[in-house]
C-alpha cells in the first residue's frame, strides 16, 4: 500500500490500515526506543505509546515529510521524555525503598546488551552502551540513529531538523565524548 493511501485511510480511522502501519514500522520504532532507553520493557512501552499517539494525531500529519520521519520524531520525543521521567523518579527514590523483594536494586538494572549485536561484539557493546548513556540527548539521538538504525547523515538531519554539516559535527562531538567516557570507565574497572 502506498504511503499517501495509508495516511488517508488512517485519517478515516481505518483499523486495518492501522494494523498495516504497526506491522510495517514496529521494528523501526522499537529498535530506536531500545537504543535510547536501553531497557526492553521501557522500549516496548514507548513503542506502544508511539503508535497510540500516531493513531490519535494522524489528522495533524500534513505529509510534508515521510511517515517514517514523523514516526522517528515521535519515538525520539517519547523516549527522551520517558528517560527524563525515569531520572526524576530515581532522584527521589531515597523516599521509598531502593530494593525489591529479592534485594535487587530497582532503579539500576543490569548492564544493557542489545539483542541484535553480534555474539563476538557483545562484551564491547556493553561498554559502549554504558558510555552512550552519559551522552547529552542530541548527541545520543544522532549516534543511535546513525549507528543502530544505520541512517545516513542526511536522514538523521531530516529527523532532527539539522543540516548535514550539523549532524556531522554532532557525531564528531559524540565520538570524542564516548572516547573520554570509555577511557574513564576502563580506568574505573
Amino acid at each position: 500500500m502506498e504511503e499517501i493511501e495509508l495516511v488517508r485511510l488512517l485519517q478515516n480511522g481505518d483499523r486495518a490500515a492501522f494494523k498495516t502501519l504497526v506491522t510495517r514500522w514496529q521494528d523501526m520504532v522499537y529498535n530506536t526506543a531500545l537504543g535510547l532507553m536501553q531497557n526492553e520493557s521501557d522500549a516496548e512501552d514507548v513503542a506502544q505509546e508511539v503508535f497510540v499517539k500516531v493513531f490519535e494525531a494522524v489528522n495533524s500529519f500534513k505529509g510534508e515529510s515521510k511517515l517514517s520521519t514523523w514516526l522517528y520524531q515521535i519515538t525520539i520525543r517519547k523516549s527522551l521524555d520517558a528517560l527524563r521521567k525515569k531520572k526524576r523518579k530515581k532522584r527521589f527514590s531515597f523516599i521509598y525503598s531502593l530494593y525489591n523483594e529479592n534485594d535487587e536494586l530497582i532503579h539500576d538494572p543490569p548492564d544493557f546488551v542489545h539483542p541484535g549485536v553480534m555474539a563476538e561484539n557483545k562484551e564491547d557493546a556493553e561498554w559502549l552502551f554504558k558510555a552512550v548513556k552519559r551522552l547529552p540527548e542530541n548527541q545520543k539521538t544522532a549516534f543511535i540513529l546513525n549507528k543502530m538504525e544505520t541512517l545516513s547523515y542526511n536522514e538523521v538531519g531530516e529527523i532532527m531538523n539539522l543540516s548535514t554539516n550539523a549532524v556531522d559535527a554532532l557525531l564528531q562531538r559524540a565520538k570524542k565524548n564516548l572516547k573520554k567516557y570509555l577511557s574513564d570507565l576502563l580506568k574505573e574497572q
Binding site: V22, H114, L182
Partner: protein
Amino acid sequence: MNQDKKIESILNSLNGVRRASPGYYFFTRVQERLNDSRSYIEGVIRFITKPAIAIATVMIIILINVFAVLNTVQKPTAQQTSEIASVDEYSQMNLSLSDVEKINP
C-alpha cells in the same frame, strides 16, 4: 596504546548490528492500549457531563462571580478613597468671605 585499541574496538562493536523486534502479539497490546486510552477519555467526558457534576460546577462559578461582584461594590478603591478625602479637605479649607472677615475684622 592498548587502551586506545580497546576503545576503538568498543566503538566499532555496533557494526553489523541487527534490528531488535518487540515481543509477539505487539499489535494486540497496542490495540489494548488504544482502547484503554479511549475509554479513559470517554470516562472523563462521562464524569464531567454528569448532571450533578455539571450543576455543581455552574453553581461554584456563579458563587465566585457573586462574591467578586459584591466585593467590588462594597470596597471603594484606593483612588476613590483618596478622592473622597481630598474633597473633604477642600470643603473645610474653602472659607466664605464672611468667614475671612470674621477672622480679620
